[in-house]
Amino acid sequence: MTEIDIEPAETVDARGAACPGPLMDLIGAIRSAESGAVVCLLSDTEQSLTDVPEWTDEAGYELLATEERDDHYEFYVEKA
């Protein structure tokens, strides 16, 4: 397990939410975040590994890091 050096302004815990729950939760958090803020999404569905980068690409936001933890993934997204 790596330690990453990003301090998110907000963490959204979408573990247990069926897809597309996690992506919707991330979009909701980014919507209300300040420009430049980093939001961290915790998700335990594999689908997020494709959903999240697809959306950040489309929206022009940066996916700073994706971390695999024991039972979930962490996605760090910066609002443009």
Binding site: A17, A18, C19, M24, I30, R31, D51, W55, A59, G60
Partner: protein, 380 residues
Amino acid sequence: MTERIVIVGGGTGGTVLANDLADRLGAAIDAGDVEVTLVNDDPDHVYKPVWLYVPFGQREPEDGRRRLRELVDDRIEVRIDRVTEIDTDAERLRYRDAAVPVDYDYLVLATGSTLAPETVPGLEAGGYDYYSESGAKALREELLSFTEGDLVLSVVGTPHMCPAAPLEFVFMADDWFRERGLRDEVDITYTYPIQRVHGNPHIAEWARPLMDERDISVETFFNAESVDPDGTITSMEGVDLDYDLLVSIPPHRGIDLIEKAGLGDDGWVDVDKHTLEAEAAENVYALGDTADTGVPNAGSVAHYQAGVVGQRIASEIRGRPATATYDGKTLCFIETGMDAASFVEFDYESPPSPAPPSEKLHWSKLAYNESYWLTARGLL
């Protein structure tokens, strides 16, 4: 000692539950051992699915209203008031119109969804909706005189009530303009926040080819950021769409006091998705839209959940272990035009598989809407 059950919200879930408890606990209520209060902030019970038909001039908003008192068993105390504060440690709540707080032994939150269009700048001024009674009436005025231009249906917020209703609206609009010989003059565009046309991949896969066949344009990954009431909606993804008529599914949230009571974020109560017990407090249940179970916000869900909560509370009052659980059952008719509909049924384990659209299913949906009043009364 009398056990006091308070149900907050006399919509679909709360009303079905009140009648269910009257049925299960009738003798105990008659003996004065149990007291059930149903609190609603409107003397009427409102059946929201009627609003889908209002903009097309097919139903009147009054068709979705009945006096709550007339739908609920006489053994239930119906209180027309608003709950303004909940203290789950003291097991006590406050009513807007009462000087002193009231104690409860069991509390059920069935407070539904509220709309929050103000969270998107320009949306209130620039868009219409059919997710409120006033919205459906205003949209009717606009739609009935709309004969040409760009009609945009934008799903702005999720979760929202009845995930099928945005698809239903564009399918109905397509058919309705076609029948009236106006379809060539009206362009219909549907926007959705994620990469497909519906949250559920099975329903999205079924709906997308139908939309293509019927010339309904689709914009996915479209999350409205602002609306210029002069006729442009702009997404967080940087896309501008021009419109002549904007119909939105506004952002939804639960009521504020749920967050204040520490029961969950944005007014949605964190619950165990099987027992429907609140995660953060004892003797508190939530059902329907306000219970955060991940299943759709639908009347059918509220109805099934009410049966589970009714059975659990009755068992607890009788001192027996509560065994009833909710399995995620959801049932939904989906209009695919003005005279055809599909149908889906699914739960936590089994995905939906939409039935081929037919006229019979359309009439089943309309028949269900009529017989809904028997459901609310607890008879069906």
